[in-house]
Amino acid sequence: MDSGSVLETIGQEIIGVMAPVSVCMLLVVLLVYTVYNPSSAASATTIRTAANLVYMESPTDSTVQKLEGAILNAVVFVVIITLVTFLLVLLYYYRFNNFLLYYTRFSVFMIFSAMGSSILISIVQRFNIPIDAATFYILLFNFTILGTISVFSDGIPIIVKQSTMVVLGIIVAAWFSRLPEWTTWIVLVALALYDLAAVLAPGGPLKLLVELASSRDEELPALVYECRPNVGRNSGARVSNLGFFVAAGVGMSSDSNSSNSDNRNGSVELQNLLRNGDRGTAMEILEGEDLVIPIDEDDRTSGSEIEEMREEAGEMAPLMGDGDSIERGSSNSGRVDNTRFSRRTEREGIEMEDFNPRGIKLGMGDFIFYSVLVGRAAMYDLMTVYACYLAIISGLGCTLILLAVCRQALPALPISITLGVIFYFLTRLFMEPFVVGASTNLMMF
């Protein structure tokens, strides 16, 4: 399973991750491309956010000034993010789980209501859509509540959860794309570096967080409520043979009103799930109970079905694992479909904690900053958009393959962002003059 056809085994996961990312980027590009108006944007005052606290870029500044200011902004931004992440780790360490949960809900609500509404209004104004205020606000209210609910509730279809996450990413990315140009690029690079450090370095906040969560056998706090639905298609994750878990952080600190909605932590960890093939027999019994009882209850008892369920579970379930807990373990291939069992377990009231569906998880941070990059590229030209899109997607693919090889939490931003930035500037500086020149002189096409 590990050797040979890495692509074969993780192909579905790659698609499952890439599809929503692509949709998100596409929509951000469309949004920016249709609504963005260079002349009005130039006159508009740039808002001060957490990402440009220090320096407000103005077009008249010299390049050196811009560069210095942008670097300062990026440093401040990353420091803020780091502090907030450590705060989150601290809160999680002392088990303020409810606070984190409610805070996440609140921030999602604010993102949808405040930031989302103003984007919608921009669209309405841009296209002169003849909708009256009452209808608009009813629809907005509905959408906001639906989005907020779908972030944490169980009774929402997975597809709706995923779309909500994509929309959330679009909204935040659209706001981020309002940052001044130089600041955007430097902040993106700085975030990629930060991500690298935070996930991989010993003592990095996100690494701490992941370790803490997995040592407690819990979902990542707050983050997971944000991230879990981002899995492209859960079916993909279920079918897979590789146990992956890509967790990612969206900002724990989005106090998302007009000013600094931007403290979000663009970090992603891709964490691999260990496979534990030799977990013992005692657990099988427990599992058996889990299986049998609910089936009885549902009037579908049949021994063979239990067998098959176990079979299937063993076949398709990724499992998070440090493997000490009793839930780990499975009859055949050593993995359990945690999802199904968890539902059963909850219903039965058997106290077995943490059965969680574990698929690839990609954080909101990724969605947002990939889309920011592409959206910023869309403000220049569509050619740069194509280049950046390809770069980001290939970077994401590389990250996923690395994940399959390394089997530990990986940051998803660095490779993609690096490639994206490089491709942007290469395209802008070299390819565009060449292609445009060649085609206007009828040497090509």
Binding site: N37, S118, I145, I158, V160, R178, R300, S302, S304, E308
Partner: protein, 148 residues
């Protein structure tokens, strides 16, 4: 939609059946049984008991001017809504769902007829009130558009 979502599941089953421990008989029973999940997410979705709780909650919440919740509820429990004679689902579950569907359609009809009247009738129908109600003027007046 639900058929689509079931396809991979049944494929998985077919794959599972190839393994030696499972027999042919079990595959047919389990396949027929497996189609009885109350939600479109199949095994990843809710159980029947949880379904009732959520359907009731969404049904009640929908009256707070939240017809989207009714729509989502109908969409999510589509298998139950579509099979009236299902043995496993709770009878009350279906009642909530039908209520949600009716509510959603009522609300949609009313709202869309109003919105269409407003959009199509325009200033000819409403006079100067139209200009005060239309969203882009409202946004202009109160400075609501913050983004771009």
């Amino acid at each position: 939609m639900d058929d689509d979502s079931r396809v991979p599941l049944s494929n998985l089953h077919a794959a599972g059946n190839l393994l030696p421990t499972t027999g042919e008989a079990s595959s047919s029973t389990s396949r027929s049984v497996r189609t009885e999940w109350p939600t479109i997410d199949g095994p990843l979705g809710l159980s029947h008991e949880e379904s009732l709780t959520y359907a009731r909650r969404f049904f009640k919440l929908g009256f707070l001017c939240l017809p989207f919740l009714w729509a989502v509820s109908c969409f999510y429990f589509w298998p139950v809504l579509r099979n009236p004679r299902s043995q496993q689902s709770h009878p009350r579950l279906r009642r909530y769902l039908v209520g949600s569907a009716i509510g959603f359609f009522l609300f949609t009809t009313i709202l869309s007829s109003w919105a269409l009247t407003f959009a199509i009738g325009g200033e000819r129908l409403f006079g100067h009130v139209w200009g005060e109600l239309v969203m882009y003027n409202v946004a202009e007046k109160y400075g609501l558009a913050g983004w771009i």
